[in-house]
Symmetry: C2
Subunit: 195 residues, 2 copies
């Protein structure tokens, strides 16, 4: 029988194919045919699973967010202290290995695609505001005696820095090796008094 789980699994497989094409071929070549080829099927399956190309992209974008959230929640739960949780979560937002580098390229691709798509940019804003709130909560836990505006300013500085270095490292991995990114993160945390 064709369980809904199967359909969901196919949708996830197609979303992974979207990420692969986005990371390896770029936004301009993100076509339905390219996604089908990356998923090892034909365009028929893709168009039977999703009503159109936009729905496919929106699903892939939301799934990327959901998976990212699960991953950072696991990191947060496994941390032994508020400061360790903050550092672990911020570290995950950088591009320190092939996997996170890939995610950063995909993230950039979706952001560029969102310029022309109202629903995609709405998704980005919702997800990014949730990300920012998480950072603020982690900073507040790591520095319980700080006033709210200090928490907000420092959290913003930290997420902007990790987001930025992820983009830089994704575009030029040789120039931004993992140890430099980690050193940058530790130096920033220490400078803010969160080391």
């Amino acid at each position: 029988m064709s369980l809904p789980a199967d359909r969901a699994a196919q949708g996830e497989a197609l979303s992974r194919a979207v990420w692969d094409v986005l990371a390896q071929q770029g936004l301009e070549k993100l076509t339905v045919r390219a996604v089908a080829a990356a998923a090892g099927c034909t365009t028929g399956l893709v168009m039977h699973r999703f009503p159109n190309r936009r729905a496919l992209l929106l699903h892939a974008r939301q799934l990327l967010h959901d998976i990212t959230r699960e991953r950072v929640e696991a990191l947060e739960a496994a941390a032994t202290s508020p400061r360790a949780a903050l550092r672990a979560v911020l570290r995950e937002g950088m591009a320190t290995d092939p996997e996170t580098t890939n995610w950063s390229i995909v993230w950039l691709g979706f952001l560029a695609a969102a310029v022309a798509d109202a629903e995609l940019i709405d998704m980005h804003r919702r997800n990014n505001r949730a990300w920012r709130q998480r950072a603020e909560r982690l900073v507040a836990a790591a520095a319980p005696d700080w006033p709210a505006d200090r928490v907000g300013t420092v959290a913003l500085g930290l997420i902007a820095m990790t987001e930025g270095v992820a983009a830089l490292a994704a575009a030029d991995p040789a120039a931004y090796p993992a140890d430099q990114q980690e050193g940058m993160l530790d130096a920033a945390l220490a400078a803010y008094g969160l080391g």
Copy 2:
């Protein structure tokens, strides 16, 4: 007579049209026809000025870099102290008004396009490494007694932060107003001892 200056001016006008389309319609709709429409001409002129679409994009990318460099060099020259120069240059890299926000969107578009284009990614790397060296030079001038690795780490943290907040603000201007970006920058400079 048809001066080379005229041709250069046309090339610049077309490059500005590329930026406009990229900022307002996104990478996926960055077609030769859209650029021609934005420039107020036909595709005939575009294809007589550039051998193909790629050459048009490469020219627009390089011109964006050149103009950015001239602007920050002027800011640097006008600054009254090394620390003021550092802050002014970093500030220009954020997205604090409609103009710089536009540039940030264009920058993101070119970066996304570079995923699939070797020459475009080479350009990005050259330009970004020059940008990074500028930041390192400015940090070294602002903190003359720092060792080289401290200069490099702090400069990386600063350019990553400004680049990152520019992307965040470009995608969600309402959530990242100018005063928050400025407050973030000042807090970071103060934390690093560069206030």
